[in-house]
């Protein structure tokens, strides 16, 4: 394209436009290959009884994969495990990170150090986080020692991994620990964007700190709270590593058999590609619904100062 001469401005504009599109084109090709094509492929494969490594032509089964899943107790258990994990993780995440962020904004010194301390678990990988906690939750580990000291019940094993109820809690604990600092940082950014003049005005009007929090901070922070809620929810719906490591290390599968784990086991271990694709589409639709909710709520919440 070097030969183009600038005879008139429209020629220059056309040249610029061509370069602009050329710069975006590699990414467009990438997304076509690695996002749009695979999701359409999953939709298509979901209608077939496709098996991995099978030379037989996959048979068209229409909606039978979906019908199977929606009547399968295992799949409903996966949905249950995913939603229990999501609810049990994202609600404490949002509440605790909001409280910690508000408190950090109240202190003058040490803000940076506190942020770094809270954020630090987010930089180590999920599998490492799960491995550390597996060690802490051992029958003779730190968790039992501390809880027994707290409850005054020496020598009791609380079966953090072995019990079907507790293992769900343990998975939530790992995830909560890893991400709480991440959301603290996001809330701090949201809080910092609220003009301090509003608080000064409130103080002159004679309102207390607590009143200012309820009347100014919370309403203005609503968009951030919603954003963080949806973001953490979407992230929890995609959880895989913690549950996978737990199961590989001997935990029972059923209580923590989240949808992603179920897709992996169905598609790769059991080689039922068609059924796994149908599961992927169901997960996609659930997440799409939440994303749509995010767009709607964030649009309704445009705040101007």
């Amino acid at each position: 394209m070097g030969g183009t001469r600038r005879r008139k401005s429209s020629g220059f504009e056309r040249r610029i436009a061509r370069w602009g599109f050329g710069f975006v084109a590699p990414s467009l090709v990438f997304f076509a290959l690695f996002s749009f094509y695979p999701i359409l492929n999953a939709l298509y494969t979901g209608f077939f009884d496709k098996r991995l490594l099978s030379l037989r032509r996959p048979a068209f089964v229409g909606l039978r994969n979906y019908a199977f899943l929606l009547t399968s107790p295992d799949f409903w258990n996966s949905l249950r495990a995913t939603f229990v994990f999501t609810l049990g993780t994202f609600i404490p995440l949002v509440l605790v990170s909001l409280i910690l962020a508000t408190f950090i904004m109240q202190v003058r010194r040490g803000r940076k150090a506190l942020q770094i301390a809270y954020y630090s678990p987010a930089v180590i990988s999920s599998v490492v986080a799960a491995a550390i906690w597996l060690s802490i939750l051992e029958p003779r580990g730190l968790a039992n020692q501390w809880l027994n000291a707290l409850l005054g019940t020496p020598g009791i094993d609380h079966r953090w991994i072995a019990s079907a109820v507790n293992v769900q809690f343990s998975a939530m604990l790992v995830y909560f620990w890893k991400y709480v600092g991440y959301f603290v940082i996001i809330f701090i950014a949201g809080l910092a964007s609220i003009p301090t003049t509003l608080y000064e005005a409130a103080r002159i009007d004679g309102s207390s700190t607590l009143q200012a929090f309820g009347r100014i901070t919370l309403p203005l922070l609503r968009p951030t709270v919603l954003l963080v809620s949806i973001m953490s929810m979407l992230q929890c719906l995609r959880t895989f590593s913690v549950q996978y490591l737990f199961v590989q290390s001997g935990a029972a599968l059923a209580p923590i058999n989240v949808v992603t784990l179920s897709i992996y086991n169905t598609g790769i271990r059991d080689r039922m590609i068609g059924r796994a694709s149908a599961m992927s589409i169901i997960l996609f639709i659930i997440m799409l619904a939440f994303t749509w909710l995010q767009f709607r709520t964030s649009r309704a919440d445009e705040t101007t100062f």
Binding site: V123, I124, I132, S135, W177, R238, L245
Partner: protein, 286 residues
């Protein structure tokens, strides 16, 4: 509250409470990390002593030897660590370059359908990787990409978030600057590599650390595509090590320390980019 201002008893109590909550939470958050570091220096017997000794009696270096050697003495951990570094670095470089140039194109070049293209790119954030991994796996195996670096790297070479970040940053880049270099006869690609890229360090650093962190953490895709031990990455090694029957508790924590050390060093030296990157989500609508 200005410095030196007198505090009422109530305000003082509130301050003490706030500091107590902040410090106790920080201690609780840091406890598992401290546990990882101390346990990695202890023989397995000491780790389960009651009460737990927060100061190891000595440095039990055998844990680290065991971690590197592996339970089967194959030294696969070193190889997997190298794989992780190669893959994470390659994905990071590719993402910065591809997202940088796409963000530049979207920010500074008017062309027909630009907004539609931007929306199309942003819509991919709604397609979770977990929903497309099975088809991606099928395509990759058909292309012969299993157990190869290409297979591990290529599906993650750019992200919509990266393009968004670069575009937001470059929108405020001065046009006069670009026009001046154009008049000097510089080519468009040269302008990007020599003028634009060196002037967007904060955005590049933020995107780079976020991408590297995500890749270091990535486990699901390597689990599908890297089946041979030699092509596995660190998270897969950890899973294998943790699930082996007679794994030593201390050696396990030594593996965890070695797997985390690169990230911890990166984090401590570039903390502001990690923290700034997380905070970007709030200004997302802007």
């Amino acid at each position: 509250m200005a410095r030196g201002e007198r505090l009422t008893a109530g305000q003082l109590a509130a301050r003490v409470l706030i500091w107590a909550v902040l410090l106790v939470s920080a201690a609780l958050v840091l406890t598992p990390l401290l546990f990882m570091f101390t346990a990695s220096a202890m023989p397995a017997v000491d780790i389960v002593t009651m009460p737990y000794r927060w100061i190891p009696r000595g440095f039990h270096w055998q844990n680290f030897w065991q971690a590197i050697k592996g339970n089967d003495g194959s030294f696969m951990f070193a190889r997997n660590l190298v794989n992780s570094v190669i893959v994470a670095l390659a994905v990071t470089v590719a993402t910065v370059l591809l997202a940088g140039i796409a963000g530049y194109g979207l920010a500074k070049f008017p062309f027909r359908g630009k907004n539609a293209v931007f929306l199309l790119i942003m819509s991919t954030v709604m397609i979770p990787f977990e929903a497309v991994m099975i088809p991606l796996y099928l395509v990759s195996t058909r292309l012969g990409l299993q157990n190869s670096y290409a297979g591990l790297i290529v599906p993650f070479m750019v992200s919509a978030f990266g393009i968004f970040l670069m575009r937001q940053f470059l929108i405020t880049f001065p046009d006069e600057f670009l026009d001046a270099t154009r008049i000097d006869g510089a080519g468009e690609l040269g302008i990007f590599t020599r003028i634009v890229l060196p002037n967007m360090t904060p955005a590049v650093a933020t995107l780079a650390v976020l991408t590297f962190r995500a890749e270091w953490d990535s486990m699901l895709w390597p689990l599908l595509i890297a089946q041979s031990e030699r092509m596995k990455t660190v998270p897969l090694y950890i899973v294998r090590f943790a699930s082996e029957k007679y794994t030593d508790e201390g050696a396990m924590m030594a593996v965890a320390v070695l797997a985390s050390l690169p990230m911890i060093i990166l984090f401590l030296s570039l903390a502001r980019y990690f923290v700034g990157g997380a905070a970007l989500y709030v200004s997302r609508k802007g």
